[in-house]
Amino acid sequence: METAIEVNELRKAYKNNTVLDGISFSVQKGSIFAMLGSNGAGKTTTINILTTLIKADGGTAIVSGFDVAKQPDKVRKQISLTGQFAAVDAILTGRENLELIADMRHESNSAKIATDLLNKFDLTEASDRRVMTYSGGMRRRLDIAMSLIGEPPVIFFDEPTTGLDPEARNDMWRTIRALAKNGTTVFLTTQHLEEADELADKITILNHGKIVASGTATELKKLMPNGLIRLAFHDEKQLKTAIRTLGERHKITKGDGLTLTVTTVGSVKQVADVFTELRDADIEPAEFSQKVPTLDDVFLKVIGDGKEGK
């Protein structure tokens, strides 16, 4: 398999604030790659470097075979960027926006390209209205349509579904999947684990400028032990008793509200111990279930490990 993006020891700092602390990864051609991280983890900085908007302090980044620092003009012919905020011209009409980008990409038939994309993104009726009259969802659709012009082999999405309603989000997911199916490499950043889980062939988790975990969603979930028991209690008093009782011999994590997660190695003996101790302390939980690890758990675990390491 060919690589579309190859990043090696990439570094970036603003004054004394290190934003990227030597990250390395590679993205296979035609795959969807998700970079997961909280606000300030360095996701947008990574995108800005890969799309030639800013220069890295160290390391290398190759996009579609070209070095972003040494051959930015060549890289720009291979990519498009859909940023966090819709990059549309509000004073122009939808059609004019599309034709502008087609002209900038030196396409020969910008009028036809615009018509086709307006159709595809359900904007035909609004095509001759100024974009300032568009709703947020319409702007976003136009924004993506603009990114597809010229069929760049690598497309970057910076938090593509932030601020979208569930329906618009599903549309976006469909578009991204269709792109990858047609051979486009998609690099996206997200704060939502569900999104990475849903879309990405490979996920990398970024925390404080460092990659703390990477792999497929399944591989990442394996980082978590299987024997999680989730307990819910009737009241605060019961919860406290349970924490006191189980806390002595088991690893427990307090969840939202009156819930508690007990981490076991997954053996019958240990699971039995947990319930025996609850019975002996005369605690009848409101609810109990075995928990399948989600990416959320992985995310919190790897980020938590990072904090402990500091």
């Binding site: 908007l53 960027l81 905020f85 819709a86 990059a87 122009l92 502008l100 603009m146």
Partner: protein, 257 residues
């Protein structure tokens, strides 16, 4: 060739912006006309005696035209600053279009629209009694110098638009140029300016430009300040052009909505 095409693509976009904000064009045209009326009918009686054989309206028209351009280019800075604060600029910057074309498109559209505004003001001047006996060559030279001055100060506007932190601040530099017009022989002969400022007035860039333009329209010749006028215009153009590109390439643009 490609970069000319790109520049024209960007200029077309910017011209649409200009045409769709008619209120700014009207402001740009009305302000100098209001000044012209003020100078002719209010101050003119007192100042006009000193302009000798030249009718006072003929004396001030070049300055009024320059004033039109200077107030017009302020909007070029505002438009650029507006672009910089919207996500669209980062889209442009990740596309295979040279910075010189992206900025050059703004410069071209601003120059064209300011020449149009100047033309409107000139028509108003004719209606108010302005007359010139100059031939086609002098008029062409006049238009040439006006176009060069407009292009040069537009690039200056782009330079300030790139530096400005906000849209409101972007247009403020045109007030400095406006002040330079007032401390020049645009509306009064420099001999009437207080000696302390006269030295400055005689040697600042607006003076040779205004004098050359006036000379072309009133005496039918370019006059002896034409080289100074050209040197200032070309100098401002080159310095602003290269510094604008230098800043643009190094600027990290933080978009926030």
């Amino acid at each position: 060739m490609q970069s000319f095409k790109d520049t024209w693509t960007m200029a077309k976009r910017s011209l649409k912006h200009i045409v769709r904000s008619m209120d700014t064009i009207i402001t740009v045209v009305l302000m100098p006309i209001a000044f012209m009326l003020l100078f002719i009918y209010v101050f003119g009686g007192a100042i006009g005696i000193q302009t000798g054989s030249v009718k006072y309206i003929d004396f001030i028209v070049p300055g009024i035209i320059i004033m039109t351009v200077v107030s017009g280019i302020g909007y070029a800075a505002v438009r650029l600053s507006m672009d910089l604060q919207k996500g669209i600029i980062n889209r442009f910057r990740t596309m295979p279009v040279a910075p010189s074309s992206i900025l050059g498109g703004q410069a071209l559209s601003s120059t064209l629209s300011n020449l149009f505004s100047s033309f409107m003001v000139l028509i108003a001047a004719f209606a108010l009694g302005f007359r010139s006996h100059s031939g086609v060559n002098e008029w062409l030279a006049f238009i040439g110098i006006l176009a060069l001055f407009t292009l040069a100060t537009t690039w200056l506007a782009i330079f300030f638009g790139l530096l400005a932190k906000s849209m409101e601040g972007a247009g403020a530099f045109s007030y400095i140029l406006l002040l330079l017009i007032f401390i020049s022989p645009a509306f009064v002969p420099t001999t009437s300016i207080t000696p302390f400022l006269r030295g400055f007035a005689n040697n600042q860039p607006m003076t040779p430009i205004v004098e050359t333009m006036r000379s072309l329209l009133t005496s039918g010749a370019a006059g002896n300040r034409v080289w100074a006028a050209l040197a200032w215009s070309v100098g401002i153009l080159l310095v602003s052009y290269f510094s604008s590109l230098w800043i643009y390439r190094r600027k990290t643009i933080v978009v926030n909505g």
